[in-house]
Symmetry: C3
Subunit: 326 residues, 3 copies
C-alpha cells in the first residue's frame, strides 16, 4: 500500500539497490549485491538474539500468500517479518477460497492482495508464478518463496550465507553435493550461486540415474564453474569445505524397491563422516531429510543443518525484507 507507484523496471538486477524490488531469482544478484545483503545479516542476528522488539519495518504489513504448504519457509518468513517489527496477513491455500473456486484468475488475486499489503511473499507450485506475480503487482514488491521446480532464492541465499559465515569467503571452495543431482532445485540454485565466485570446485556424488541432465551440466560449465561428477564414495575429496547432502525424492521412483535401493546408497552416519570428511567440513542439508543423514550425526559440530543453517534462513530473510522495505 505504497503512497507512490514507483515504475521501476521488473526483474532489474539489484545493482546495489534493493528498495521496492521484486526478488524472484538469484539471477538478479551480483557478487556485490550478495555482499550488501550479507553485511546486514549479523545485525539481524543481533536483533533476533538480543535486541527485540525491533522497529525496522514497524507498521508494515506483509502478505504471506502460500498456494502450497511449506512449514519451514512459512514459519521462517512469518518469524522474520515479526522480528523486525512488521505484521503478517497470512493466506494459506487461497485456491480453496471461494473467489478462486468461482473462477478468479491469478492476476486478479495478486492485484487484490497487493492492495492489502506492503509486500507479497508468494509460494506457488508452478514454475514462473513468482515472476508472473511480480509483473502483475504494480505497487508492492513480490518475494519468491519457491515456485515449484523453479527458484527459491532465499533458500540459496541462506545456503550461501551459511558457507560465508563459516569460511569468510565464497570463492576458492571445494564443495561436495550428494544425493539427487537430477531433480534437486536447491542443488541447481546453489551451483548457480557458487558460480558467481571464482575458483570453486564442485563435486557431484550420485547414482548414474540421478546425475545432472547433460543440458544442465553444459549450462553450468558455461558459467565457468568446475564440476566433477562422482559415483563412488571412494572418490570423495578429502579436503571438501562443504558437504551439501540432499534427499532422494521417493515420488520420482516407479517402485518402492527402486527407491529403497537408491536412497540407501549415500547415508551419512558418524563413521562415514569421520572417514570421508575433514575436521573443518561443514555438513549442510536443505531439509526435510528422510534418512540420508542419521540423527546421531546431528550433534557433531560439523553438522549445521538443524543449527546455523535454519537460523540463518530467518536472519537472511530479515535482512532481505529490511533492504526491500525500509
Amino acid at each position: 500500500m505504497h503512497s507512490t507507484n514507483s515504475a521501476y523496471k521488473r526483474f532489474d538486477k539489484i545493482n546495489g539497490n534493493f528498495k521496492g524490488k521484486d526478488i524472484v531469482s538469484l539471477d538478479q544478484f551480483s557478487q556485490k549485491d550478495i555482499k550488501i545483503l550479507f553485511d546486514e545479516v549479523p545485525k539481524m542476528r543481533e536483533i533476533a538474539l538480543n535486541a527485540r522488539p525491533s522497529k525496522i519495518i514497524e507498521g508494515k504489513i506483509v502478505v504471506l500468500l502460500f498456494y502450497e504448504p511449506s512449514s519451514r519457509t512459512f514459519g521462517s518468513f512469518s518469524t522474520a517479518v515479526k522480528q523486525i517489527g512488521g505484521q503478517t496477513v497470512e493466506i494459506l491455500n487461497p485456491q480453496d477460497f471461494s473467489s478462486i473456486v468461482k473462477g478468479e484468475t491469478f492476476e486478479d488475486t495478486i492485484r487484490v492482495f497487493e492492495a492489502y499489503s506492503d509486500a507479497i511473499i508468494l509460494r506457488h507450485p508452478q514454475v514462473g508464478s513468482a515472476s508472473k506475480a511480480a509483473q502483475i503487482a504494480k505497487l508492492v514488491p513480490v518475494i519468491n518463496a519457491g515456485d515449484g521446480v523453479g527458484e527459491h532464492p532465499t533458500q540459496t541465499l541462506l545456503d550461501l550465507y551459511t558457507i560465508y559465515e563459516k569460511f569468510g569467503r565464497l570463492d576458492n571452495l571445494t564443495v561436495l553435493f550428494a544425493g539427487d543431482m537430477l531433480n534437486g532445485r536447491t542443488v541447481h540454485s546453489l551451483i548457480k550461486g557458487l558460480a558467481l565466485y571464482p575458483k570453486n570446485t564442485l563435486y557431484l556424488l550420485s547414482l548414474p540415474s540421478l546425475k545432472l541432465s547433460r543440458k544442465e551440466y553444459s549450462n553450468f560449465l558455461n558459467l565457468g564453474i568446475k564440476l566433477v561428477e562422482l559415483e563412488s564414495v571412494n572418490d570423495i575429496p578429502k579436503n571438501a569445505d562443504v558437504w551439501y547432502w540432499t534427499r532422494i525424492q521417493k515420488e520420482r521412483f516407479k517402485s518402492i524397491k527402486d527407491y529403497e535401493k537408491t536412497s540407501n546408497k549415500f547415508v551419512v552416519n558418524q563413521e562415514f563422516l569421520d572417514t570421508y570428511a575433514s575436521k573443518n567440513t561443514i555438513l549442510m542439508h536443505p531439509l526435510p531429510r528422510v534418512g540420508e543423514i542419521t540423527p546421531k550425526v546431528d550433534d557433531d559440530p560439523r553438522a549445521v543443518y538443524l543449527k546455523s543453517q535454519i537460523r540463518n534462513g530467518t536472519y537472511v530473510r530479515m535482512a532481505l525484507l529490511t533492504k526491500v522495505l525500509e
Copy 2:
C-alpha cells in the same frame, strides 16, 4: 473482553453512536450514520498510506471467525485491524475443529470466542447467522462479514463510499447494474443503500431469466427508488454515473451450455465501454469476475474495481472498527 457488560439493545439503529454496536445489517444505518462513517474514511486512508503504525485500537484483539473461506474479505479485515494498531485471532473453518465436531452448538462457540476478544468478525454461509451471533454475544460487538445470501454490510458501505468519493454525493445519480439481478446479494444490498438517498435512478440490465424477482422488485419500489429494467445494451443510458457489473453464477445453471450462453451476453471490453459509457462513468465490480469484464479494460481510468474499490474496502472497515471499538 470488556470490563463492563453494557446492555444496549441489539440491532439498534446506529443513530449517530457506533460504540459497541453490532453491525449486522445495512438497515441499521441512516443517511446521517453513513455520513459520520464516511467522514472518518479519509483519515483512515491517510493512516494506510502515510501514517502507520497507528495506535487507534492498540491492545485490542479482534477474532476473525470464518466458517467459510473468503480471501478478499478475510484479508481486508485482517489488514484493517492491523493498520489501526489492533491484533487478530484468526479461526478458519471452526466447523472442522474438534469441539464443533463433538457437537458443540453455535451458541457455545460464540460465547467462547467473545471471551477471547474485543470484537468478533463473523463470516458464515447461513443467512441470519450474524444476527444470531449478535444476540448471543453479550459482551462484545459482532460484525457481519457476510452471512450467505443474507447481508454483507461492509461490502455495501465500500461500494457506496467508492461512489461518494468520486461524485461527492449519493443522491441524484444514474446507476446501471448489469449481470445477475436475481441472485446477486451485492446488487440487492447496494440498491437498498442507494434507496436511502433521493432522486437516484437505477437501470437493471439482465437477461429475462435473471431479472429481479417480482417480490424483490416491489419491495424496492416501495422504498421509493426509481428502477428501470433493461434487456438490451442499446437501452443503456448514455449518462450513467456508475456501472456496477456482476458475475453470472455458474452454479445457478443446469448445464454448462445454458451458463455459457448467458455469461457471454454482457461482456465489457474496451469497445463496449467506449460505446456505451460516458467519460465520467466509473466501472465497478464486487469481484470475483470470471470474464464479464476483459482484463484490457483494467487500465482504463474509469475501471475502479481493482483500484479504489478494493482499497476503499480496507479503509471503510478501518473506519467502522475505529468507530465501534475506540
Copy 3:
C-alpha cells in the same frame, strides 16, 4: 531463539522457578508452585480488562504448533500471548505440510520450530508427544496444550484456579464429578490436582460402565484423596462446593442407542440444579457440552463454564507464559 542454551534438566519440578521450564505435566507442580502462579493471575485479569497493551513479553515470538484442531485452546493461547505483548507464529496441521508428507520426523520438525521461536505451544493427538518435544527442544520451552488422552496441564490449572477464585482455598472441598469417569482426561487430571491438597472429598457420579478403572481408582486412593463413587442422583451430597460435569463421548459407544441411553442419564436442568445443588455450589464443565447441561442453566449465577471458567483459561495461560518467558 534464546541467546544462551541453558542446560536445565527436563521435567524438573517447577520448584518455585518457572523461567525457561517446559510445562508438560501437572506432576511438575507443587502446592507452592500453584500458589506462585495463581498469585499472578489477578494481575493478568487486570491487564486483560483494563491495562492493554501490555509489554510483558514484548518482542517474543511463540509458535502455536497444533497437530489437531482445538478452537478453544488455540484461541485462548493465541489471545493470551497477544494480551501480554507477544506475537504468535501459528502452524495448523503441520502433518499436512509438505516436509512431513515427505517423511520428516517429529524430531526434525520440533528442532526447526524451536529455531523460529521463544517457546513452542504444542497440541498433538498422541500421548507423550509433549514430553518428547520437550526433550528434543534444547533452546526453548515447550508447553503442552493437550497430548491426546495424556495431559493438558493448563486445563487443570484453569479448573483449579476457578475453584480457588470462588472459595479462596483448594483444600477442605467437596467436589462432585459427573459423566464419564472412565475416559475423561480432564476429570483424571483435576482429581490429581485436588489430591495435592488435604481434606478434599470427591464424589464420582456415573453409570457403572463409565466408572473409573479399578487401576486408576487405586492410584488415586494411593495419593491420599477421598473418593466416593455414586450411581444415583439421590446420593449427591447436598453440600458440594463444586459440580464438575462432563460430556459422555459418543465415539466410545457401539451404537447410537447405547449412547443415547447413557448420555441422557445425568442432565442438569434448572430443576435438577435447584434440587441437588446448594446455593454456593459452582457448576463447571470443561466444554464442549452436547446436552448434559441445558442452555437455560447458563444464566444461573452458579453456572461458571461459559463465564469465569473460560476467561480464567486465558488469564492462567497469560500468567504461565509470563512466568516461563519473562
